[in-house]
Symmetry: C2
Subunit: 216 residues, 2 copies
């Protein structure tokens, strides 16, 4: 219209964001009401007032509208901070890193909660979610290896260092899944940080050599 048409990030970008958000909200609402399997892409398109073709241009897949934007890699600054961390609690540090990346991803907590509830009750979505996470695991493994090297550990002194790195990532994934389930099922009264520490403590209790049984 005026000589300065691009206010926010360009009118185009705003419209895109709006329709995308609308579609995601419509998808979640429909699925929470009728169940994921009974929601058709055409229904979401009707609610979002776009053609089916446009829907697939946005999400590529039906599941995409329900899962939201994929988890991003953390910013370089955070990565560096992790790599040069103290080293005492690598599992806690990694879990913290992942959590931070997840949190500032979806600003609306209502959407986030609805999404988690739906994913928990829908095996198909849960599986796809795990697949997405698995796609990040390789780069996270490299990150953990970097940290090992920064701590002076080498493949020479520890032949299975790469295995260890992969296992660290795997364990972090377990802790995240466990914690998310407990958090969004409402079974924990406390802060997310407390929950994560609780989960990690649980891991230690289980793997702790032979101390699980109570004294009495």
């Amino acid at each position: 219209m005026t000589s300065k048409p691009t206010l926010d990030d360009g009118l185009r970008a705003r419209k895109r964001a709006a329709t995308q958000a609308g579609l995601e909200r419509a998808a979640l609402a429909l699925a929470l009401e009728h169940g994921y399997e009974n929601v058709t892409v055409d229904m979401i398109c009707d609610a979002g007032m776009v053609s089916q073709r446009t829907f697939f241009n946005y999400f590529g897949t039906k599941e995409g509208a329900f899962l939201g934007t994929p988890p991003p890699m953390p910013a370089d600054a955070e990565l560096a901070r992790f790599v040069h961390g103290t080293g005492a609690d690598i599992l806690g540090d990694l879990v913290g890193l992942i959590t931070a990346a997840l949190v500032d991803q979806e600003p609306d907590p209502g959407i986030l909660r609805a999404r988690r509830m739906l994913i928990e009750r829908t095996p198909e979505l849960l599986g796809r979610e795990n697949t997405r996470v698995a796609e990040l695991e390789e780069s996270l493994t490299l990150l953990v290896l970097d940290r090992f090297h920064a701590q002076g550990r080498t493949e020479e002194s520890t032949p299975d260092l790469e295995d260890e790195a992969r296992m660290v990532v795997t364990l972090a994934g377990s802790v995240m899944r466990f914690s998310m389930q407990k958090w969004f099922s409402g079974g924990f009264a406390g802060t997310p940080s407390e929950l994560l520490r609780h989960s990690i403590a649980l891991v230690r209790r289980i793997t702790g050599t032979a101390d699980p049984a109570p004294r009495g």
Copy 2:
């Protein structure tokens, strides 16, 4: 034909088993050659000389032909042995239990290996595999809880006992995934038992309070 037509398990059952095995073999061979995504159900049906409808009668899903029969719960005897185990190494015991159930499932090691190779390189199949495993997790959690109770641990003395049980199952799943990947990628020279013990040792090294760094 004769007065005793049912030799093995009935001619019907044998034919069923034969066509099913044929379809599974055809599916694996085609996918290893052309890639999972480029194999169509019709191709498999042609190779197996059945109609598409019959294919879906057998497997219900395209993925089903590649994943094989779902993992079964172990026999009651094994379950009892687990529940009344010594208690020192619950993670090892559970991993052993799962492994045993997997092993006597697919007698042909060639098929098993081909299947794993395909699953590893196909995210969609990997995700579905994990979903299948997740379906067993609930009953495994109950099993672990039984063992806790058999050891005299109660929810009264340990309020988060159920959490601990769920975490044990989650960790066992991590160990299994890690080990399977390493095993079938050929990166381990040794027996499966050794590999499993190695993996669990890795978990302990990581979670061990503050011992991961070498002295030097």
